[in-house]
C-alpha cells in the first residue's frame, strides 16, 4: 500500500494543484496581537501573526493547545468580547479593517461574510431549539425581509446540500436527536446559509470518529469548490491540514514560526518544531518506526514565554545558534519561494540537518 502511494505521489509531483493566485488577498492579517490582562499577568495569546488568504483557497493553522490558533480565529470573527482582551494590528477583509471598524459593523459581517464552525457540535448548538429554528435564525438575521416560510425552505435546502437525509423532516429535530456527524453537517449548513466569503473551521472534526471525519472533510472540500469561499481550518492534526489546506501556518507560543505552501511545508519543513511535530506522530502511510521521536519538554506558558525563540528550551539544535536562540527573537524569513520560517539556524544548516537527520526518520 505504501509503495503504491509513493509512486502515485511522484507522478504528480510536478503539477502544483492549486497555484497561488495573483491580486489582492481577500483576508489580510498584519501583526495581529491578542493580549489578555489576567490576575496572573499579561497573557500574550497571539503575538504578532500575519498572513494573507485569497478566495477559493484554504489556509491551515496548525498548533498545539495554547499556541494561539483558536484565539486568532476568534479575533478575526470579532468574538473576543472581554474588556481585558487587547487586540492590535490589522485584519483586512476585502480591504476593510475589522479591528478599526466598530463592533456593530463587525456584527453585520459576522454570519454573512464571515462564518465559523466549531469543534463540538453538541455544545455549539442550543439544546432548546430545533436545528431548523437555529438555521432559520442565522438566515433571517441577515435577510430580515425573508418570510419565515422562505427561511425554512432555505434551511431545508441547506440541510439537503450538506447531506442530511430527509431534510424536510429532520429540520424539526432537536440537536440531541442528531448523531455527532449529522450535527456537524447541520453546523456547516448553518454557517453557510448566507453564502459567506470566509469560513473558519476550528477543529471541525476533532470530536468526530475517523470515518465521520472523512465524510466531513470531504464535505468541506466539496462546498468550497462549489462556493469558492476562502477557508481557514484550525487544527492540531497534521493529517487534517494535509487533506484540506493549500497553505499552512504553524503556530507556537502565540507566534507564527513557519508558513508556506502545503506541499513544501510537508516535503521540506524548515523549522525544528515542525520537524518535531512530524517526527512525533505515528503515521499509517509509512513503515513502522521502532520508536517515535518526541519533542522534549512541554509547550510554554503564555505568561512567561521563553526569551528569544520561544521554542529554544525544547529545541535540539538551539546550541548551534551561538546563543542567539535564547536572546534574540527570530523573525520570519523566506527560506524558499513563499516559504517562511522564524529560526536562527542558517538556511543551509537547516537544510543539511533536515536532509541528514530528519528526513530519513519521517
Amino acid at each position: 500500500m505504501t509503495d503504491l502511494n509513493k509512486t502515485a505521489a511522484d507522478a504528480v509531483q510536478d503539477a502544483p494543484r492549486n497555484p497561488a493566485p495573483a491580486g489582492d488577498p481577500f483576508l489580510s492579517v498584519r501583526d495581529l496581537r491578542v493580549h489578555f490582562d489576567t490576575d496572573d499577568g499579561l497573557v500574550r495569546s497571539v503575538d504578532g501573526v500575519s498572513f494573507d488568504l485569497h478566495k477559493g483557497r484554504t489556509l491551515g493553522i496548525v498548533g498545539e493547545s495554547g499556541s494561539g490558533k483558536s484565539v486568532t480565529s476568534l479575533a478575526i470573527m470579532g468574538l473576543h468580547r472581554s474588556k481585558r482582551a487587547g487586540i492590535t494590528g490589522e485584519i483586512r477583509l476585502d480591504g476593510e479593517d475589522l479591528i478599526a471598524a466598530g463592533p456593530d459593523r463587525v456584527r453585520q459581517l459576522r454570519g454573512r461574510e464571515l462564518a465559523m464552525i466549531f469543534q463540538d457540535p453538541l455544545t455549539a448548538m442550543h439544546p432548546y431549539y430545533t436545528v431548523g429554528q437555529q438555521i432559520v435564525e442565522a438566515y433571517r438575521v441577515h435577510h430580515p425581509q425573508a418570510s419565515k416560510k422562505q427561511a425554512r425552505a432555505r434551511a431545508v435546502e441547506m440541510l439537503d446540500r450538506v447531506g442530511i437525509p430527509q431534510p424536510d423532516r429532520r429540520v424539526d429535530d432537536y440537536p440531541h436527536q442528531f448523531s455527532g456527524g449529522m450535527r456537524q453537517r447541520a453546523m456547516i449548513a448553518m454557517a453557510l446559509v448566507n453564502d459567506p466569503s470566509l469560513l473558519i473551521a476550528d477543529e471541525p472534526t476533532t470530536a468526530l470518529d475517523v470515518t465521520v471525519q472523512a465524510q466531513i472533510l470531504d464535505l468541506i472540500r466539496d462546498l468550497q469548490a462549489e462556493f469558492g469561499s476562502a477557508v481557514i481550518i484550525i487544527t492540531h492534526d497534521l493529517g487534517v491540514v494535509a487533506e484540506l489546506a493549500d497553505d499552512i501556518l504553524v503556530m507556537y507560543g502565540g507566534k507564527c514560526i513557519e508558513r508556506g505552501p502545503a506541499e513544501t511545508l510537508f516535503d521540506a519543513p524548515e523549522h525544528p518544531y515542525t520537524w518535531g511535530l512530524l517526527g512525533s506522530m505515528p503515521r499509517l502511510d509509512r513503515e513502522l518506526q521502532e520508536r517515535l521521536v518526541p519533542v522534549k519538554g512541554t509547550p510554554p506558558s503564555l505568561i512567561n514565554v521563553p526569551s528569544g525563540c520561544a521554542f529554544h528550551p525544547r529545541c535540539p539544535y538551539a546550541d548551534l545558534t551561538g546563543g542567539r536562540s535564547s536572546s534574540e527573537l527570530p523573525v520570519l524569513t523566506e527560506a524558499a519561494p513563499g516559504h517562511h520560517a522564524a529560526c536562527h539556524l542558517p538556511v543551509a544548516e537547516r537544510h543539511r540537518i533536515f536532509a541528514e537527520e530528519i528526513a530519513p526518520r519521517l
Binding site: G111, T123, T130, Y174, H176
Partner: protein
C-alpha cells in the same frame, strides 16, 4: 410522555399517603410517649370535669381505643367518604374531605382551614411575582456587567436580603409606612373579588417584605446561572451568526439560565402555600400559616395533621407542575 405524566401523578399520590401515614403516626404516637393517655385525648372533646362514662363513650366513638392502624384506616376512610362522630348530644357529620374536629373549638378542621387558603395564596402569588421580576432582572443585569458598580451594589443588597429575616424587614416596613408615615394603615385582608385595589394595597407591605428575602436569593441564583450560560459554546455560536447582543442574551442565554430557577421556584412556592408562618404573624394575616401556628401552640392534633397534609399537598403539586414544565422547556427531557 403520557406514561411519564401518569407515573408522576401516581408517585405524587403515593408520596402523599406516606406523608399522611408518617404525620399520623407522629402526632398520634407522640402524646402517648409524652405520657398522655387516650382518656386525656378524648377528654379534650368534652367540657370541663368530664365524667368517666362520657370519656369512655367519646373514646369509643372516636375509635381512640382501637389499634393505631385501624385508626389510620378510619382516618383515610373519613378523608374520602366522610364520617359521623358522636361526642356531643347529637351526632355530627364530618364532610368529605374529613380531617376530623378540632380539639379546641370543636369545629370541623377542613372548612376552617380552607377559609384561610385565599389569604395565603394571595400573599404567596403576589410576593412570587414581585421577587421573580425583581430578582431575575437584577441577576441578569449583574451577570451581563460583572464587577460593575451595579453588580457589586445589587449583590451587596442581595446579601443583606438573604441575611435579614422577615420579622425584621416586615416590622421595619410596618413601623415606617403604617405608623411613622401612615400611608398604608389599617391593613386588613380584603378579598380580591370584593375590591382588587384594596386587596393589593393592603397586601403590598407583606409582599415586599417576603419578596425582599426571596428576590435576593433569586438574584444571586440568576446571576450565577447567567454567568455560566453566557460562557457556553452555543452562545458563541449565536454571536457568530451576527445576532444582536440583546437577542443573544434573551433568546439564547436567559432561557437556559432560567430553567434551573423553575425547579427552585416550584419548591419555594409550594412551601409558601403551606403557610408563610412568620410573614402572616407579623402582618396579622389570617392565613394557613397562622392557622398552623395556632394549632401547634394549642397542641390541637387534628388541625396539625390537616395543615401538614395541606402543606405536603401543595409541595407535591408544585413539584409535579415544575417537572412537567421542565419537560416543556427542555426538549431533551421531553423526548427521552
Amino acid at each position: 410522555m403520557f406514561a411519564y405524566i401518569i407515573r408522576r401523578i401516581f408517585a405524587a399520590v403515593v408520596l402523599l399517603l406516606v406523608v399522611s401515614a408518617v404525620t399520623f403516626a407522629i402526632f398520634f404516637l407522640l402524646p402517648r410517649f409524652a405520657g398522655e393517655t387516650t382518656d386525656q385525648l378524648a377528654a379534650q372533646y368534652i367540657g370541663k370535669n368530664p365524667s368517666p362514662e362520657a370519656i369512655a363513650a367519646v373514646k369509643s366513638n372516636l375509635g381512640l381505643d382501637q389499634p393505631l392502624y385501624t385508626q389510620y384506616w378510619n382516618f383515610l376512610k373519613a378523608l374520602v367518604s366522610g364520617a359521623e362522630y358522636k361526642f356531643g348530644p347529637e351526632p355530627a357529620t364530618c364532610h368529605v374531605p374529613c380531617f376530623g374536629y378540632s380539639f379546641k373549638n370543636h369545629l370541623e378542621v377542613w372548612p376552617e382551614m380552607t377559609s384561610r387558603i385565599p389569604v395565603t395564596i394571595s400573599l404567596a402569588i403576589g410576593a412570587a411575582v414581585l421577587w421573580l421580576v425583581s430578582g431575575v432582572t437584577t441577576g441578569v443585569i449583574s451577570a451581563l456587567k460583572p464587577r460593575s458598580i451595579f453588580d457589586r451594589l445589587s449583590m451587596g443588597v442581595a446579601l443583606a436580603g438573604v441575611s435579614l429575616p422577615v420579622f425584621f424587614t416586615g416590622a421595619l416596613l410596618l413601623t415606617l409606612f403604617s405608623y411613622e408615615w401612615p400611608i398604608l394603615d389599617n391593613l386588613e385582608y380584603v378579598d380580591f373579588t370584593d375590591d382588587p385595589l384594596m386587596w393589593a394595597r393592603n397586601l403590598i407591605l407583606p409582599w415586599v417584605s417576603l419578596a425582599f428575602l426571596y428576590s435576593a436569593l433569586y438574584a444571586r441564583l440568576t446571576r450565577a446561572g447567567m454567568l455560566e450560560t453566557m460562557s457556553e459554546d452555543y452562545i458563541r455560536t449565536a454571536r457568530a451568526k451576527g445576532l444582536a447582543e440583546r437577542k443573544v442574551v434573551v433568546k439564547h442565554g436567559l432561557r437556559s439560565a432560567l430553567t434551573p430557577i423553575i425547579t427552585i421556584f416550584g419548591m419555594d412556592l409550594g412551601l409558601l402555600l403551606g403557610g408563610a408562618l412568620i410573614t402572616e404573624q407579623v402582618f396579622s394575616l389570617k392565613g394557613v400559616g397562622q392557622f398552623a401556628v395556632q394549632a401547634i401552640s394549642d397542641n390541637d392534633l387534628p388541625k396539625i395533621l390537616g395543615v401538614t397534609l395541606l402543606a405536603a399537598f401543595f409541595i407535591v403539586v408544585c413539584n409535579l407542575v415544575v417537572d412537567l414544565l421542565y419537560a416543556l422547556v427542555d426538549p431533551r427531557v421531553r423526548l427521552s
